[in-house]
Structures are given as C-alpha cells and as structure tokens.
Symmetry: C2
Subunit: 420 residues, 2 copies
Amino acid sequence: MKTLWTKRYAQRTRRMQSSAVRELLKLTEQPDVISFAGGLPAPKVFPVKEFQEACQKVLNEHGPKALQYSTTEGYRPLREMIARHTARYGIVVDADHILITSGSQQALDLIGKIFINPGDHVLVEKPTYLGALQAWNAYQVEYVAVGLDDDGMKTDELEGALRSGPKFLYALPNFHNPAGVTLALARRQKLIVLADHYGVPVIEDDPYGQLRYEGEHLPSLVVLDNHYQAHNGAPYSGNVIYLSTFSKTLAPGLRLGWVIAPKEIIQKLVQAKQGADLHTSTFNQMVAYEVARGGFLDKHVRYIREVYHERRDAMFHALERYFPEEVRWTHPQGGLFLWVVLPEHLDAAQVLQEAVKERVAFVPGTAFYPDGAGQNTLRLNFSNATPEKIEEGIKRLGRVLKSILSPATLSQAGADSGFR
Amino acid sequence: MKTLWTKRYAQRTRRMQSSAVRELLKLTEQPDVISFAGGLPAPKVFPVKEFQEACQKVLNEHGPKALQYSTTEGYRPLREMIARHTARYGIVVDADHILITSGSQQALDLIGKIFINPGDHVLVEKPTYLGALQAWNAYQVEYVAVGLDDDGMKTDELEGALRSGPKFLYALPNFHNPAGVTLALARRQKLIVLADHYGVPVIEDDPYGQLRYEGEHLPSLVVLDNHYQAHNGAPYSGNVIYLSTFSKTLAPGLRLGWVIAPKEIIQKLVQAKQGADLHTSTFNQMVAYEVARGGFLDKHVRYIREVYHERRDAMFHALERYFPEEVRWTHPQGGLFLWVVLPEHLDAAQVLQEAVKERVAFVPGTAFYPDGAGQNTLRLNFSNATPEKIEEGIKRLGRVLKSILSPATLSQAGADSGFR
C-alpha cells in the first residue's frame, strides 16, 4: 500500500533488519518442531507460584504505587538489591551506579544512542550477540571484529583491532552467546591491559554469568579493571560498563535488565531512556524485587543450574552419538548455547531448510557475524527442550547432516575453525 | 570521575536533556507539596482488585507463557481487542496494523528512529508534548511550529509551515498536552486537506481521547483522512499514524501503548523495536488484556471520567476564585491538563521558585516549546489531586501570583496569547 509515508524512511533503516532469530521463533512455534533456535529459558524453571504471591503482596501493600508512573532510574529497593548481589562478585557500587532497563536489549540500544556517531567503529567478537548488532546497526556503526576460540576472544588479535581506534570494545566473557565459550583468565587480564593502553573503554555483557555448571567462577572485567586501576582508589574504575538481566534467572517476559556504569553515564542513559520509554514497568520491578528478595533468587539459580546442566550434558551425549565425525562443537561450562562448526563447504542456511523438513530447528551462524561470514556455523540452544527432546532433536539433525555429507567431503573437516 | 568513557558521547547527546517534568516529579514527592506538575492519573482510579484477579488468572492458566519471551508485535488477543475497540470510533484496522509499544513514549522513539534523518524538519504545535521533543531531539531533528488557540492548532498558519517540507506533522487533537485545547472539526478537515495537498503524512497522538467530560466526540484525523481518500477503497488510508495508550485508562505503571499504521510501517517499527527492547512485557500485555476484556474497560473509563470531571471543575472554580484577573487559562473539555498564560513580563520558572516555598508545584510552559518560548506560561494537571487539594493548591498559587503582580503590572495582561 502506497501512502504519504512511502520513501520517507531514515537512512539508518537500511541497516535495520528483522532478526533471523526472532523470525525463526515464529516458524518454530509449531508443537512438533524441536527447536534449538531460540534463547528461551525452560518454562519449567519459571517460579510461577512465587510470582503469584509477589503480585498479591505488591498489589495489596503498594497497589497505587505499583500501577503509577515512576522514576526513570528504576525502583530503588531493586537497584539496592542488585548492588548487594553484585558486591558478592567484587563489583562494589551503590544504587546510583545502576539503571534498570527494559531488558538488557534496551541497555544496548541506549548505549548506542549516547555513544555511537554514524561511522564510529565498535570492536566486537566474531561471532557476537545478534541483539547488539541489531541495536547498533540503527546508529550506523561500523565493526572491527576479533575472532574467538575455545578460550574466548583471541587476545593476540586484539592489539591490531584496538589500534584502529574503536569507540568501545564489546565482550561477552561468560558462556558466550552464540559461541558458548568463556574468556580465559589470562586473556581477561590481557584484554584489560590492552584496552587501558589504547584508551578504549569496555562493555561487559553478562546475562549468563550465574549459570555455570562446572569449573570455577572467573573474575569479571569490571573487577579486573578495578584491580588494574587500583591507584585511583575508587572501588569502581568506571572504564567497564557492566550489563546483566533477570531474563535468565527469573523470567524474560518481565523485560528487566540493568546497567552498572559511572554516575555521569547513568545520568546520560537516564536522559536517553526518558525519550525511549520514560521508565521500565513499575509493577514488574516491584514484583521482581518481591520474588528475588530474602534469598529466593540464590536458591532458584541453583535449581536452574541443575536443570540446564542436565540438558547441556544431554546435548553433549547426543552430539557425540549422532553427529558426523567431521562436525565440531564447543563445550560450554555454562549458559544456554553451544556452537557448531560444519565442514567449510556446507551452508548452515541450506542445512536448516532440510532440518525444518525433519521438524528440528537451529539458528544459522552467519546472523552473528558483523561481516556475514560463518556460513558453515550454527547455534544450538540447550535450555528450552527437555533431555528427551534434545536426544530426539539432535538425532534428527545428525541424520540431516549425514545425508548431506557424502563420503567425498570427509577430508574437509572444520578443523581450522579455531574451536576444538 | 574521569573514565575512558569521558568525551566519547555521540553528537546527538548535545540535544538530549533530562526532562524538567521528570526532575520535578522527584522534587515534588514530599507529601506536603500539592503538585500540579506531573501527568499522573489519580491513584484512586487504578483497578487494583481487577489487577489482582487478572494476575492470578494469567499465572494460573498461562504462567509459563506469560513469563516467557514473546513476539515483538505484541500479544495477539490484546491487539485484536484494540482493533475491535478502535473500530467503534471508525478506525477500521486488523491486528496486523497494530504494534504494542512500551508506553506511547516508545512509539515516539521508534517513529523518530525509522523516519528522522539528522536535520529533518518535523511540524509540531507550540506548545507541544514534551515527550515528543525528548524522543526526537535524540535524532537531531529540527522543528517548524504552528501556534495554538482555544480551537487547537491554528490551521491558517499551517500552509506556510507545510510548504517548508517537513518529514511529518505531529498533532494532539484531543485535550492537548500541555494546552488542554481540542482541535475544532473544521480545522481537522482543513489539516487533512492541506497535509494531503503538500504530501505531508501525519502522526495523531491521542492518549486522552476517551477522557471527554463535556461536548461531543470529534472524528479522529485517521477517520477524516480515510473519508478524504475514499477513492482508494481501503478502510485505512495509512497517511495518518495513530498512537494511544493504556496509561490513562488502566495504569501507566504497566507501560503499554500502541501504534496503528500501515503494515509496511509496522514491519519497520518491529525491526526498530527488536533492537530497542525485543518486545514489551508479555506478562503485562496478558494482564492488561484480562483486566480490559469483557466490558470492564468501558465501565472503568466512565468512572475515570466522573472523577476527573469533578476535579477539572474544582480547578475551574478555584482558578476563578483565587487567581488574579490578569491571568488567563484554557477550558479543556477533557484530558488531564489546563494551560495558564501569565502577563507577558512574568517568568513561570521564577514563579515556580516562589510556589515551591508555598508547597505547590506546576510545570513552567517553556519546556513544551521547541524554541524555548512561552516563559509566561505554565501547565496545571487536575487529575492527580483531590478536589480539596486542588482548591488548596490553587489558593496557594493564587497567593503567590498576587504577591508577584504589583498594581503597576495590571495593564499588561496576557490577552495576546491567543487563548481566551
């Protein structure tokens, strides 16, 4: 339909596309499709009863406040709770360093809004979080990208990328989405030293940090930078902006995330957020606070870890059993995803077409590359399906891959991908 | 605190400021201040009991779905309900013409994102809605503005403004925020004819349309444009994008608004929203649907009208009784606000300083002018305070104004303001 709006779109819309992941979510809603495509938490871990009790309590005790407009910064008791929680991991800040956002996605958008001029470069991993690319493409950003291997960002490639003068560096150190890998401690330290040397600030995106199923917690980039900058005497150096969310520990349907940043930046983000949505739902903030307080969140995260640990292991076992030898995958210690590298001549988008016929789905990896590379990669989610469905889905996908891979292709394995 | 982020802000942040209204909300939270500053609904009209029941029902019957990620477009039953409701006012669309936004504020942001290039002009009323200025300033927009009088936008000034080639025209036809005036029918028709003639599409922002306390409902710009374009045969011409919200009829703390637009534009808005916050809270959409369905919303809106009608009249009476003769104000037939014009030599910001000492607050009008004019104007909200508080607050404000206005100033009344 032609209207007076036709041909009036802003130039930035040329870079805006509907996310392949989001569109796939619709395709794979049919109940007979086993989908490893989304990043959905398991419905069984949602604390529905606790939400019911919290809704009653909030509406009984603070009904008019919960339904009213509130401040842009967010509900103060919730911000104070986040500050207390975060202090346990060495990030010592107060509530004024914290802004509540409408999901972590909004934090990425607001950061783009206050920092990115058209043509600015941002340093990202390749692959990287699709939502960050989506948020920042709208600000006409350019990317400089550094590869990943099993120990996370290849910091030996970092110096060249930093030298090109990016506006900031964006990293997902824990259980990377999509790659599933974790940035090794020595690399974390090297990243901080190099970023400081080149004067490039850092965004640390940590939605999954609490969901570790094996191995030891590694200090966050915020903590390492604070140690490195210890001469400034403040508990928070401010060079690293930290993002996290309740989407993976309570419920994504609430749309509650947060930013930890220097107060000056929080103020700018608040101005941007006023123009973007005034504030995040008062009711949801108060309900999340009621659900999470009093130790419930810690207990609940332990339960989620158990459930996802089992599902991850189910996927590991199924991959070993059903996938062809020439396919490689990462071995995440936590999070929701693992990353599959196919032989180089395969196109994961074409594999998906065959897979959907077999009623199994995943996300082709190219969506996660700022430069459209990664055609032979794909992302698998292991949090949403039951172990039984995982076994069956990977079996189906293995069958699809085996039928595509003729004996003639066996010599072209994905061994050069950097992932074991 | 100096960090690596310092001096890295994008150019667009120069135009971003914290809203005077939002900052005032904090100042006036002390319980002894009678605030006419915010745009807050009356807490007593929030249907707390209905929300409790709806939360229980949604969590009992659809708990996992309500807490999970969902599609960017919004909860389909809610969009269908909005389509049915809107059809009663002659806006005949289906759910695919509707996008649920995180408050109407987000609709303004997303519209800026997909339509405004830096330096583009947007045609607005002066004064206009502060939230629109905040949203679009971030996209480095320029404004061309047309004045208001008691019949709304002065359409005899419109042609010159349209000739300058604005990207779109933004209007609040019903119970204007901040001015309280309503665009007369003949002017609505003239606006549509002129916008069509100059090929300029229209944003119709209608948060208060249902809150009419006297007079007859006037057809929306969408409906008038459809009639004018009737030759195209479609029930929705698409030249007018329509915005509304549940903030004034259910509860602002939910952050639920909507856009009605051609499907092609909805798709672009969906792409922009994916990058901005993925989707609006699933839970809140389902709860709002449960509260609003089955005729409750209509009944509830009738109740809100009664409450606000009484409060508006209380403010009218108090203004007549306590305000000095040389002050003028508008006589809104609905909505939440009225507009006060002081003698021209007075500065409302200075009046506010005195007023706060007397424990009464309002918003100085200059915040609502894209060009910083309107120093002698101010906005009063009549929905949030009880009739008794309104009487007392206007009495205090009248005392402040009388003490500022010396007899020497009596000849300089605000008669040239365009408002009776």
